[in-house]
Amino acid sequence: MQTVEVLIEVNNLKKYFRVGRNAFVKAVDDVSFNICKGETLGLVGESGCGKTTCGKTILGLYSTTDGEVIFDGVNIHALRPNEKTEFTKRAQIIFQDPYSSLNPRMTVGDIIGEGMDIHHLYKGKEREEKVFELLNTVGLNKEHVNRFPHEFSGGQRQRIGIARALAIEPDFIVCDEPISALDVSIQAQIVNLLMELQRSKDLTYLFIAHNLSMIKYISDRVGVMYLGNLVELTTSAELYDNPLHPYTRALLSAIPIPDPQEERRKQRITLHGEIPSSINPPPGCRFASRCQFAKEICTRAMPPLVEVDKEHFVACHLARQF
């Protein structure tokens, strides 16, 4: 394999939210991973597992409780204001909800052009042409430039969100569930667009979603999160062929497959119990309360994320023993 350049290094990232005198939501608890240049890293997990918090902390939208995020050699949480502007020019985000993430009082042209104004990239005629070009890239027309967000459908709004993220030509985009609010046939349009843009503009994505089949399709590597912890991290093919963490296995088997014969054959692993609260979680493996293999050690000590195979990391005391 050729040497790949690491763009983002996340080291022991922690993000706690205080919710009471002595109560903390440990949204992200000691998560470490790398994102290489030009790759798509997928992050999956159920609601409340901390995947969105993780994405927003990496962009500096949240401060860290502990740990660091190194973007191209610099810790983004220790930047001076002018350096911060420099960083925000290189990293952007596409939000989940295309209805609430666009300012209803701004025209499409202003929404897309705002980033260019902030970073003093283009002015006047050039700015206008750039906006037209972006609209064209994401499959909208230049007639749309003076319209307001409410005049568009969900899929079109998500395209506006993508155009806004692309406007300042970033290197890195966090896609925070960009398709989960959209209909099936529109999802395919947006995913195809994102993948094509990645190829043509050499972008790096952190792709956050709870839909494992879409994540597997779009990502090079996938990280599985459960209650603030990264429990498994490997290439997307390996994750599907050879999942090692019991949670990953349950997650994979819970996904209904659009194939009736396969559905009838499949032995589904049904998890029992609810997802525990992430407020002051108990010591040990977070998944232990729902895990059918849990042993005494699992409730005592938190398993570290270890590389059990080449490029295959898993956090489980009993990996490979069942």
Partner: protein
């Protein structure tokens, strides 16, 4: 057919009056449900699937919704539900036909204890005493696998997690042992591992009680594991109907075909572009004259835009509304799967 038809809808039209004009949400839907089977209604948002099932329950807002259509009928046990007044409808609702809604947070009463909400329908419909209804409610909570039911029965919805709320709603819906259960996107608000639990629960309760289930969803994966028959809806009309296997392995309508191809398969390691449809569904204030899918269909012919397609039957249970199956259609570049076995 060996089973009896529990419910039959004929030529249902539903329109809504809005400030922008009259929205023709449902335009001529026919469907039926048999005892103990699961019928899935599949389609994207705004295609009229929720409106269809809400009209069965008589839950559409009377001020705006107009149910019309020549000879429109919703037949349940020889009775036309459309002719029922509110009192007679109330006797059906919850007793014979129940519904589970998409969002368990907004469809439970936040100021009532869970146990009272389950007991309510037993008291209203079966005339049960308060004590008996409470015992029954406790039994229902256990049936839907709520842990510590004795304690949970006196709690409020906010004390329940999303999955538990949805299970409580199933308990309410099934309390009177209805013949038909309508599940409108029952797991869209839930996580996949919880979704698997809920669907498993609905399936086992259905087997036990021989309930007919109408499942409304846009999730094709869910349909594959749950449904016996599928009706695919687009822009207020049913475009294809068939058994689950017929729809998945032998789709005949280009929309069904596109819908199936636009979701990635988990077992596929290839990174080809997904089959994607251009454009968006039509505006139902001015519904198209011809086939509603024609503007997005890559095989559309002139006739598709001018005249609504007639049904082509491929077997006793499988039919599709598409001009491509007409013997005179030019089908030179249409995929094989869409065409073979035309009768």
């Amino acid at each position: 057919m060996k089973n009896s038809k529990l419910l039959e809808i004929k030529n249902l039209h539903v329109s809504f009056t809005t400030y922008a004009g009259i929205v023709r949400a449902v335009r001529g839907v026919d469907l039926y449900l048999e005892e103990g089977e699961t019928l899935a209604i599949v389609g994207e948002s705004g295609c009229g699937k929720t409106v269809t099932v809400k009209s069965i329950m008589g839950l559409l807002p009377e001020e705006q919704a107009v149910i019309s259509g020549e000879g429109a009928q919703i037949n349940f046990h020889e009775h036309n539900l459309l002719a029922f007044d509110e009192d007679r409808m109330s006797a059906i609702r919850g007793m014979h036909i129940s519904m589970i809604f998409q969002d368990p947070m907004t469809s439970l009463n936040p100021t009532m204890k869970i146990g009272d909400q389950i007991a309510e329908s037993l008291i209203v419909h079966k005339g049960a005493s308060g004590r008996l209804a409470r015992q029954e409610a406790l039994k229902m909570l256990r049936l839907v696998n709520i842990p510590n039911a004795e304690e949970r029965i006196d709690q409020y919805p906010f004390q329940f997690s999303g999955g538990m709320r949805q299970r409580a709603m199933i308990a309410i819906a099934l309390a009177c042992d209805p013949e038909i259960l309508i599940a409108d996107e029952p797991t869209t608000a839930l996580d996949v591992t919880i979704q698997a639990q809920i669907m498993e629960l609905i399936k086992s309760l259905q087997r036990e009680r021989n309930t007919g289930v109408i499942l409304v969803t846009h999730d094709l994966g869910l349909v594959a594991s749950m449904a016996d028959r599928i009706n695919v809806m687009y822009a207020g009309q049913i475009v294809e109907r068939g058994t689950t296997d017929e729809i998945f392995y032998d789709p005949k309508h280009p929309y069904t075909f596109a819908l199936l191809r636009s979701v990635p398969k988990l077992s596929d390691h290839k990174q080809e572009a997904l089959y994607s449809l251009v454009g968006t569904p039509p505006d139902l204030i001015k519904p198209p004259v011809g086939c509603p899918f024609a503007p997005r269909c890559r095989f559309a012919m002139r006739i598709c835009r001018d005249r609504p397609a007639e049904a082509t039957h491929f077997g006793p249970s499988h039919s599709s509304y598409c001009w491509l199956h007409h013997p005179k259609a030019n089908t030179s570049d249409v995929p094989e799967t869409l065409l073979k076995e035309v009768v």
